[in-house]
């Protein structure tokens, strides 16, 4: 068949030379390469003791953010659940009562917000879908567990605590919300 692209390059037609037929030169060459690696510094991350910084945009464990005053951002609009290809998010919305303004920023809030971490594929679509800068994926990892039930992350595990805030400012898709 003629050439289809006019830029082909044959790469595998070199016959073995006599030296190559002798086995030894290539073997010794290969052994020299491995030998040089003996004295090279190892490239291993000793994981539990050492950790590596992930990219700032890494898609790890989710967090439900609070705003500066400690109110939950989530308004239970359900976009994240719709956007989730794994259908791992479940939520129950509730109306904010009088006197709960310090807890929830919007009029509606998620009474139950559960993510099945075993289903979740960490694609980041929920973060993208969220119009209220409530849910973010972070560079933390979801720990392994012994029981399947432990992977249903409710609000207790997802909502950040005010004492230990999770920094998501490096994520480019964060955006800025100007206070109204």
């Amino acid at each position: 068949m003629q050439s289809l692209s006019n830029r082909s390059k044959v790469v595998s037609d070199k016959p073995m030379t006599f030296m190559e037929k002798l086995y030894l030169p290539a073997i010794l060459g290969g052994m020299w390469i491995t030998f040089t690696h003996l004295f090279r510094k190892h490239n291993t991350l000793k994981y539990p003791e050492q950790t590596k910084a992930f990219a700032p945009v890494y898609r790890g464990m989710h967090v439900l953010k609070r705003d500066e005053q400690g109110r939950e951002n989530c308004t239970a609009c359900g976009l994240c659940a719709v956007a989730c290809p794994a259908e791992a998010i479940t939520m129950v919305a509730n109306e904010r009562e009088q006197g709960e303004e310090h807890l929830y920023r919007e009029e509606k809030y998620a009474e139950i917000y559960e993510i099945n971490m075993l289903r979740c594929i960490f694609c980041g679509l929920c973060e993208e879908a969220c119009p209220k800068e409530a849910i973010f994926l972070t560079d933390r990892l979801v720990p392994t567990e012994y029981e399947r039930a432990d992977f249903i992350y409710g609000k207790d595990k997802l909502v950040e605590s005010m004492d230990y805030r999770i920094d998501i400012t490096d994520r480019q898709s964060t955006g800025k919300r100007t206070e109204k």
Binding site: L45, Y47, I121, L141
Partner: protein, 180 residues
């Protein structure tokens, strides 16, 4: 199935391992040979875990046993379809006691995004799973995390657990025949 607390209850005479048992169990934990049952994406991340950057060898686990007879840990990484289920079960049955199972990734643990007619919704329906690793696929760090959890289990497992009634019951629940 495999919580450390469960081990306490299984071992009727109290949880305290004797000193000898403790030494033996620790030794055992340092020599867990994996059988990688890698079907898809997670298998590639498992390969990365084996590679230089994460080096599973540090845990004494680089000796992969593709023969189930020699393996201690079944690492199920990737989607298990209904067609594959019986094969996985058979591999589990062929393994010699004591054996552990690590379910890596969303697909193996719960089906992940593949909530479809052909995919098994979690391998714990056919074999008992000791540790679940979330993620799709999990980072090598998470896989190592899961392995460390397995090691914890091994370290705390009394030698006689595998002969206990509870264990037989567990296998019976999954319809697994052991006497090969």
């Amino acid at each position: 199935m495999g919580k450390i607390e469960d081990l306490q209850t299984i071992n009727g005479e109290g949880y305290q391992l004797s000193r000898l048992e403790h030494v033996l169990a620790t030794a055992r934990a340092n020599s867990v040979w994996p059988l990688p049952f890698a079907t898809s994406c997670c298998g590639i991340e498992y390969m990365a875990t084996m590679g230089s950057n994460y080096d599973l060898a540090r845990f004494g686990m680089e000796r992969m046993s593709f023969s189930p007879r020699q393996a201690d840990l079944l690492i199920v990484a990737g989607t298990i379809s209904k067609k594959l289920g019986p094969i996985l079960k058979k591999v589990y049955e062929q393994m010699a006691e004591p054996k552990w199972v690590l379910s890596v990734g969303a697909c193996a643990s719960s089906g992940g995004i593949f909530d479809t007619y052909s995919v098994l919704q979690g391998i714990d329906r056919i074999i008992p799973v000791d540790v679940y690793v979330p993620g799709c696929p999990p980072r090598p760090e998470q896989i190592i995390d899961g392995i460390i959890r397995i090691h914890e289990l091994v370290k705390n497992e009394p030698l006689r657990r595998r002969y206990s009634e509870e264990y037989k019951h567990l296998l019976h629940d999954h319809n697994i025949e052991t006497n090969e």
